[in-house]
């Protein structure tokens, strides 16, 4: 089976629980279990091949340009981890079915859980480190959802946030590390990277890459000093803790260290970084775990400690130590998941998991007692349980580790770690199950139903059988996993009795010492309580709070709600960037020969300059400002015509008309004067800013125009191909409707959306509210003219309408070959129609306008879409145009192009959008009391009073 499919199955499964919860809690859990089981089954089908040493791959190109491919690989390590994730996942689903109460939204829970499971399986099966990073971040996100599942608990929310912050930051650093690693190795595929050991370790970037990647691994796997998030995440429901913190989330960092072990390990830097971090974590975690009264906190810190143990083994950098690490991953997952589940059962039944309130449970919960005891003894490393095997092998490996020339240091500290580990395991048994039965439990505990304890019981059986018959149960998978980690063929010999070795003595010291510590627990505990402890949460909150305050200060400083301030800051920033670029470049004058300017352009320039200056001086009179703006627009339009751009001139002049009408309509409601508000100083500052920007842009434009193209322009291609390729001689129009048809298509859509936004805004204003009240109470500032619809204007616009329509059609039809086209035609016809509204009144014209403008927009875009889709039927890409020549007697031969149909879409959409925008503003005027006249004239010439 394809590894990609195995990774995809949990994600598919994530879709179901949310729906199946409607069919009941059992159906919901079953739907999640079904997909997990299916994925596990497929993994099982692949297992024989993988155990033979094959690597099963699926390769899917995703973004090959940047080396990101959806490549999956299933080898021994992937098989081991995927098996753990899916197998324990199945047990967790069973357990969670009984753990969650009726008030918990179970559909959500299983959806999050399946998402998380998919992300984890994705990590362990990825063959591409970029893909791996995607899944890595997904685990951070989905574990955030899981840890914060009980949204009503503040500890849950805070724990989830802390986990996300720490692992997310680690993930960021890991992205950087992975990119460096990929650059060194020349590929992002793990299969390739693993062959590049020499190149990677000799690279000067090896240390930075190693540090960044380890930062990601250490945060994820809760290694000292990033271990503080894991105990806080215990606010999650117990199934989550059991899953995330035994077999999955925290093992992701371990997995990655194992995955990259062949290329990263073996150096001194690796040994001291990884080995030391692991050793320190082992000790710190074990010490804190001993004194925790919360069952889950005890288990959480013991997890930290055991993760440290595995990290340390990987850090030793020898094949034997890595093999033990792989073995302990399996053992730890089995007994730790069982212990978390046991803690959950106790919490569920006794309504507390505080060790000080428990004790004597062996009489009340005998089944739970057996399960919990086997799990705890495995954790302590008591023979014949599986924990003993891997602990003894670990101690054996420490005797070979020499830290800074000191051969005694690592074995001694590891023995202390094992001693503490035994002590807290004993405490878990002694203070919870042993001792006298109490009568002050918050709730009278008893053993739960079979379904609730089945999962931990099965795991304990694994721990027991794994200890008694390790080769049968674990030997093959450890071989496969360790071979994949180390890249060498590993054949382990797991057995209970190794003979009298140093490791045996260390083990005996640890187990006996653990008993002594338990015996002296009371005084030790007083000492612990009296000693000062750095509170990670307070530190974390201080850092986060500081970052928040800093960010808030920066944001408030840059953006305090004043738009002008934001504008000014943006302008200054752009100016600064421009000045920086300017000082860094050459300033030689351009070599392109200048174009001669006659008196006509000079007059146009004078007009534009005087109109702009007048606009700046007189802008407080808004009507005058509009007039001056119109002059500027007209000069711009004429300059387009003069500078050989007739299409632009046509478009600019018609847009100018429509814009000024629009602004006039709006000005009808707005104040007619802009008050003088800003201080002279501020006006001076703005003038200096504006002058500097204007000077810069003008100089840039001049510099650009006086130089030749740095690269050959692609315009030549369009000129050469307009006629033979697009079938039209108006190159601009052919570019719009053919070469760059997709852009135009997008633009149409944007224009249509803009018109709909305007319509929606008008609707919102006309609904009851402050705006509507203001409109209803609106009084014109100046007295209205008695003759609102002058007869002469009405008559002239009516006569003009058919002419304008004809001009519009003419402009549209000639557009492919001569200046014109859908854009201009749409604007021209819109102007013709708007003239009717202006002359004869909104109500009168609207009553005669039978077409809905929304429909025009939709029709335009649909026609354009249909034209584009039409190309598919000829097996061509979207919007490929075709054309041909038609001869219909008695007409001349003429050309038909699909591009013309597309242009029709452009025409309709532009017309509809412009009309809808103007009509929406006009509707405000109607609400403000403009009467709907029934007749075209205010004054009827036939009644003799005219």
């Amino acid at each position: 089976m394809s590894p990609a499919l195995i990774a995809a199955l949990p994600f598919l499964g994530a879709l179901l629980p949310g729906l199946m919860i409607r069919a009941g809690r059992d159906a919901c859990a079953l739907s999640a279990a079904f997909f997990t089981g299916l994925a596990l089954l497929m993994l099982g089908l692949d297992a024989p091949a993988v155990l033979r040493g094959e690597v099963i791959e699926t390769r899917i190109d995703w973004l090959p340009q940047i080396g990101l491919n959806a490549n999956f690989r299933l080898d021994g390590l992937g098989l081991l981890f995927a098996g753990l994730i899916l197998g324990i996942g199945l047990l967790i689903i069973l357990y969670a079915r009984f753990y969650l109460s009726k008030s918990d939204p179970m559909g959500q829970f299983f959806t999050y859980l399946m998402l998380f499971q998919g992300a984890m399986v994705g990590i362990v099966l990825s063959d591409n480190i970029l893909l791996l990073l995607v899944f890595w971040e997904l685990t951070s996100l989905s574990s955030f959802l899981l840890i914060g599942y009980w949204k009503h608990l503040p500890e849950g929310r805070q724990g989830a946030r802390m986990a996300l912050t720490v692992t997310g930051l680690g993930g960021l650093s890991m992205i950087a590390g992975m990119l460096i690693l990929g650059q060194i190795a020349g590929s992002y595929d793990i299969g390739v990277i693993l062959t590049q050991k020499a190149a990677i370790q000799s690279s000067p970037l090896y240390i930075p890459a190693l540090l960044l990647i380890l930062l990601g691994c250490f945060t994820k796997s809760a290694q000292f000093p990033f271990h503080f998030w894991l105990p806080r995440a215990m606010a999650a429901p117990t199934p989550v803790s059991a899953y995330l913190h035994s077999a999955t989330m925290v093992k992701a960092g371990i997995f990655l260290m194992a995955r990259l072990w062949p290329v990263l390990a073996g150096t001194e830097a690796w040994f001291y970084l990884v080995g030391t971090a692991g050793l320190v974590t082992l000790l710190v975690g074990a010490k804190i775990a001993l004194f925790k009264d919360d069952l889950k906190a005890l288990l959480a810190y013991s997890t930290v400690s055991h993760l440290g143990l595995i990290t340390m083994l990987l850090g030793f950098g020898t094949v034997e130590a890595a093999t033990v690490a792989v073995f302990h991953i399996l053992n730890h997952a089995s007994f730790k998941a069982a212990l978390f589940m046991t803690a959950g059962i106790i919490d569920h039944e006794a309504h507390t998991r505080n060790i000080r309130r428990l004790g004597g449970l062996r009489h009340l919960m005998p089944v739970t007692f057996v399960i919990g005891t086997i799990g705890a003894l495995a954790m302590a490393g008591i023979p014949p349980l599986n924990g003993f095997l891997s602990k003894e092998m670990m101690l054996e490996e420490t005797t070979h580790a020499v830290w800074a020339g000191q051969a005694w240091l690592v074995p001694l500290l590891a023995t202390i770690g094992a001693l503490l580990s035994a002590a807290y395991s004993y405490r878990f048994i002694a203070h919870v199950f042993l001792g006298p039965v109490r009568d002050d439990y918050p709730h009278k505990p008893h053993d739960p139903d079979f379904g609730f304890w089945a999962a931990p019981a099965l795991l304990c059986a694994v721990a027991l059988i794994g200890g008694l018959a390790p080769m049968a149960l674990f030997g093959w998978i450890v071989d496969a996993g360790a071979s994949a980690v180390t890249g060498e063929a590993v054949h382990v010999h797991l057995k209970l009795w190794h003979g009298v070795t140093p490791a045996l003595w260390m083990s005996i010291i640890a187990l006996a010492g653990g008993l002594l510590v338990l015996a002296g627990f009371a005084p030790l505990d007083r000492l612990w309580l009296a000693s000062p402890k750095p509170d990670a949460k307070r530190l974390f909150d201080a850092v986060v709070g500081g970052a928040r305050a800093g960010a808030a200060r920066l944001t408030d400083g840059l953006h305090d709600g004043a738009l002008t301030r934001a504008f000014a800051i943006g302008i200054v920033a752009m100016l600064a960037a421009g000045i920086w670029a300017f000082t860094g470049g050459g300033h030689a004058p351009g070599s392109r020969s200048l174009t001669a300017a006659g008196p006509v352009p000079a007059m146009g320039w004078l007009l534009l300059v005087s109109a702009t200056l007048a606009l700046l001086v007189l802008h407080r009179n808004r009507l005058l400002a509009l007039l001056l703006l119109g002059i500027v627009g007209l000069v711009v339009a004429v300059s387009f015509a003069y500078l050989s751009a007739p299409d632009l001139a046509l478009t600019q002049i018609s847009v100018e008309v429509v814009t000024i009408i629009l602004l006039l309509l709006a000005l009808n409601f707005l104040p007619k004067e802009t008050p003088r508000e800003s201080s002279p100083g501020r006006r001076g500052r703005d003038a200096v800013l504006a002058g500097a920007v204007g000077l810069a842009v003008g100089a840039l434009a001049y510099a650009l125009m006086t130089r030749d193209f740095a690269f050959p322009s692609i315009a030549a291609f369009h000129i050469d191909n307009a006629k033979p390729g697009g079938g039209g001689t108006n190159i601009v129009n052919v570019i719009l409707v053919d070469f760059r048809g997709y852009d135009t298509y997008g633009e149409l859509t944007v224009l249509g959306i803009a018109a709909l936004v305007i319509h929606a805004l008008a609707e919102a204003l006309l609904r009851g509210g402050a705006a509507n009240d203001r409109l209803l109470a609106w009084k014109p500032e100046a007295p209205e003219a008695g003759d609102r619809h002058p007869m002469m204007l009405v008559v002239v616009t009516r006569i003009l309408l058919p002419l304008i329509l004809m001009v519009g059609v003419f402009i549209f039809l000639r557009g492919h070959n001569q200046p014109g086209g859908g854009f201009v035609a749409g604007l021209v016809i819109a102007i013709g129609l708007v003239m009717q509204y202006m002359a004869s009144g909104f109500g009168w014209a609207a009553a005669r306008m039978k077409v809905d403008f929304h429909i025009l927009i939709a029709l335009g875009i649909l026609i354009a879409t249909a034209t584009g889709v039409g190309a598919w039927f000829n097996g061509l890409p979207f919007l490929t145009s075709a054309y041909g020549y038609v001869h219909l007697p008695p007409l001349e031969e003429f050309e038909l192009a699909t591009a013309a149909l597309f242009d029709l879409g452009v025409f309709l959409a532009v017309l509809g959008a412009v009309m809808l925008a103007l009509a929406s503003i006009s509707r405000l005027a109607v609400r403000a009391g403009e009467t709907t006249n029934a007749r075209p004239f205010d004054i009827d010439p036939s009644d003799g009073r005219g």
Binding site: E155, D541, R548, D560, G561, A562, L563, T564, F567, A568, I571, R592, T595, A602, W605, L608, T612, L613, A625, L629, V632, G633, V636, S639, L643, S644, A645, D647, L648, Q652, V655, L663, L670, T674, P675, S678, L689, G694, V697, A699, A701, Y702, L704, M705, T706, S713, A715, I719, N730, I731, V732, V750, A754, A755, V757, L761, A770, A771, F823, I921
Partner: protein, 119 residues
């Protein structure tokens, strides 16, 4: 000619920038229109100036004005109309809702929400 066009672009930009720094919606809208002219002219000028050259293909033409920038600017003109229309409507709506056409909000009072859970 280049000098005339460049100075016009510079002046229009300066005018646009000055007006968008005003405190009321209307001058800001007018300023944005000026900036649109300036930007459109700038893009157009990046195709270099040509006088009396056709953008229409023909067998006899000796040269062409740059059609690519014209196509770009043509769509830019239409889109800037759409943008102007939307902000005019926004400005109008804000004026009708609030009763004045000031563009700046009062400075927000920072740090009244700590964001931390208050359990």
């Amino acid at each position: 000619m280049e000098l005339l066009v460049a100075s016009s672009i510079g002046l229009l930009t300066a005018g646009g920038v000055y007006l968008i720094l005003r405190l009321r919606t209307f001058p800001v809208i007018v300023g944005l229109s000026l900036l649109s002219y300036a930007v459109n002219l700038f893009i157009f000028a990046s195709g270099r100036l040509a006088i009396g050259l056709p953008p229409i293909w023909s067998k006899t033409a000796e040269g062409y004005s740059d059609p690519l920038v014209q196509a770009l600017v043509l769509t830019a003109i239409v889109i800037s109309f759409g943008m102007t229309a939307v902000i005019v409507m926004l400005g109008l709506g804000a004026y009708l809702e609030a009763g004045d056409d000031r563009i700046d909000m009062e400075p927000s009072s920072p740090a009244d929400d700590s964001g931390e859970d208050r359990a």
